[in-house]
């Protein structure tokens, strides 16, 4: 059993000296914590009154969010011209932000679905908050294309509804694929997240001290009672949702990349885009997961559940996906040279030495390619400050990467007479900052009202969850009802 101290502990006395004991894995929950400690620590973070830091942070993030919403309102009421978009750069910060946010969401689904299918038990400590992050990131992402269409009140044109104009959405357009991909992604992520939450909501219901909490958690816990006849179907549903989310998450960023790859703009028209975008999404998403979890783990004293081992593994994923992304960057340059296409060659020359040169040198080269290489070394993966520094680099670098792809491709394409430059307005800038406010406010509400770690799943990785694990205190009586003291 992965990460568990199991039978060898007990049968050690019987093992003869000649038999080699199997190597012990580092336990996934440290300090031999038991089931009730996990419940107490995680549910305890939700119960009780909000700490002062929470109110201060939430006040700031919600004000930023409000200002972001004001910018959206101003943009909708005045027009798309409040953004710096114009010819030739018709997609800029808006679509950059869209791809940036949707990419961040991918790490959540990777952790919750792909790592589940791969039986990576360490995911249980981080999957809940990563999935929540997915939902909030997708909400932030959906704002941009929604508003970018200009006449938001006509957005229903995106839906395949019968209408008297006789015009239907163009199902052959990658932009419409995007509508379906992103909305499916959001819906499936909500279902997956909520399905995972049900047993934990039941825990909160059973611990609730006030009537209103009991009622609300009770409603959302749908009467869950931990019955094995229910777990049987539940586990199958969870497995299937993981199995469905896996191709889905790979498809979503592929479809996002089709928005570019199916066009003829130099640097966009490329078959490498789908895998390159998916790797980049996971890369940026893991950095954001760590950005949120490293402080949360310290504040809520979750070091025994989100252990250095977890951070180490996430750092390795960042190293892997960062290297895939670096390879894709290199391959783009190679193909541009090898293709002999003068527009393609110029576009990549322009990427390094053009007006946006420092975006490439700082964002793509330093932040995305070089900074994760620190994770080759164990002492850096175990140094929280280095990890946090690299994550911040990756967060910024992935935004720059999308900007370079989008604006870098558009601002100088085929005809030098129509070249231009993009300058963001204050509305551009504050709408983007505002989405950070929305994202962080939602995340703060999440850790305040819902268990940020999947209690029922973390309990499974404890050695005593194994039905063949013999407890040394097997014959001790059951402890009295009530809170355990630790």
């Amino acid at each position: 059993m992965d990460g568990a101290i199991t039978a060898p502990d007990v049968i050690a006395g019987e093992a003869s000296a000649s038999v080699t004991k199997p190597l012990q894995r580092v336990p996934l929950v440290l300090n031999k914590r038991n089931f009730s400690w996990i419940t107490e620590r995680i549910a305890g973070a939700v119960e009780g009154s909000a700490p002062r830091w929470w109110w201060v942070t939430f006040a700031i993030t919600s004000m930023v969010a409000m200002f972001g919403l004001f910018c959206l309102g101003y943009q909708i009421s005045t027009g798309v011209g409040t953004w710096g978009l114009n010819h030739p750069v018709g997609w800029a910060w808006d679509i950059t932000n869209f791809v940036f946010w949707i990419g961040i969401g991918h790490a959540g689904t990777l952790i919750s679905a792909i790592l589940f299918l791969l039986r990576q038990k360490w995911r249980t400590s981080i999957n809940r908050s990563a999935e929540a992050m997915t939902l909030f990131a997708v909400i932030c992402a959906a704002i941009f294309p929604g508003v970018h269409v200009g006449r938001v009140w006509m957005a229903w044109y995106l839906a395949p509804l019968p209408n008297n104009y006789g015009i239907w959405p163009n199902f052959r357009s990658p932009l419409l694929w995007d509508v379906f991909a992103v909305s499916t992604y959001f819906s499936v992520s909500v279902l997956f997240w909520y399905t995972g939450l049900i047993p934990d909501l039941a825990t909160l219901r059973d611990r609730a001290t006030t009537k209103i909490k009991k009622l609300l958690y009770g409603i959302f816990a749908v009467g869950w009672r931990g019955s094995n006849r229910n777990w049987r179907h539940y586990e199958m549903a969870y497995l299937l949702l993981a199995g469905l989310s896996t191709p889905l998450v790979l498809s979503v960023h592929s479809v996002v990349s089709f928005d570019f790859a199916t066009s003829i703009i130099p640097t966009w028209h490329s078959t490498i885009f789908p895998p390159y975008f998916v790797a980049g999404a996971i890369f940026g998403g893991f950095a954001m997961v760590l950005t949120l979890l490293v402080p949360a783990r310290a504040i809520y004293k979750l070091q025994d559940i989100i252990t250095p081992q977890h951070i180490d593994k996430m750092a390795k994923v960042i190293l892997l996906t960062g290297s895939i992304v670096s390879y894709a960057y290199a391959m783009e340059f190679f193909v541009a040279w090898y293709s002999g296409n003068q527009y393609e060659k110029f576009a990549f020359y322009n990427r390094i030495f053009g007006p946006y040169w420092w975006y490439w040198w700082v964002g793509m080269l330093f932040c995305n390619c070089l900074s994760p290489q620190l994770f080759w070394f164990k002492r850096f993966r175990y140094n929280i400050y280095v990890v946090y520094f690299v994550c911040m680099c990756v967060n910024a670098g992935m935004w720059f990467e999308r900007f370079i792809i989008i604006v870098g491709g558009l601002h100088r394409d085929f005809l030098p007479s129509s070249w231009g430059i993009f300058i963001p307005t204050w509305v551009d800038i504050w709408t983007f900052i505002g989405t950070f406010g929305i994202f962080l406010s939602l995340f703060l509400l999440f850790i305040r009202y819902l268990p940020m770690i999947a209690m029922s799943e973390v309990k499974i990785v404890l050695p005593e969850a194994n039905p063949h694990h013999a407890l040394p205190d097997e014959h001790h009586p059951v402890a009295a009802v009530g809170k355990e003291r630790h």
Binding site: R205, R232, Y234, E474, V478
Partner: protein, 184 residues
């Protein structure tokens, strides 16, 4: 079945100190021939389905049907308007079989969407959820089932159920706090 005080009996419950003892007890209850009984634990216990004599969940069949429905929905949704009712040439893409691959992404997405919704609603329906209450919640100790408690409950409507036999079986299997659970 009623208690002397007139309460209707739901069943007999016992608490177990660990996942492994619950697992062993479940095998004994299964072998004693009971049918209407259940175990409750804060997390799914590996191998418990077999210990209870339950087979594989057939939820996957529902999801397969949901997925096929989604695929067909997408086929009709895309071919209907774009190929048959309102054929419209956009971007010079012809309305014939050569552009059919452009329909695949949405077929894929709707297959996933419908499958996921059917998985979600199937798990609720097959488990008889949501429900407001359940007799097991009348047992005070039961609130630990979502924390660190392991419970086994034999229902009174099981044809083999007698108070004496159920109590004896639960106590012999290592159950503690063996209790009659009232219906309401």
């Amino acid at each position: 079945m009623r208690t002397p005080s007139g309460n209707k009996v739901y069943g007999m419950g016992a608490e177990f100190p660990s996942a492994s003892s619950l697992y062993e007890a479940a095998k004994r209850v299964r072998d004693a021939g009971f049918k209407k009984w259940d175990v409750h634990s804060p997390f799914p216990i590996h191998g418990m389905d077999a210990a209870m004599g339950l087979g594989k969940s057939w939820l996957s069949a529902v999801v397969l049907v949901g997925g096929i429905t989604g695929l067909l929905t997408a086929v009709i949704l895309e071919f209907g308007p774009s190929q048959i009712i309102y054929p419209l040439i956009v971007h010079g893409k012809p309305v014939d079989w050569r552009t059919v691959p452009a329909f695949f992404p949405i077929m894929f997405e709707l297959t996933i969407l419908f499958s996921a919704f059917s998985a979600f609603f199937a798990v609720l329906t097959m488990n008889g959820l949501p429900r407001w209450n359940h007799p097991v919640f009348n047992w005070r100790r039961f609130s630990r089932a979502t924390n660190d408690g392991f419970f086994l409950v034999i229902e009174a409507r099981d044809p083999r159920f007698t108070e004496l036999e159920a109590r004896e079986l639960l106590e012999q299997s290592g159950g503690q706090h063996v209790t009659i659970i009232h219906e309401e």
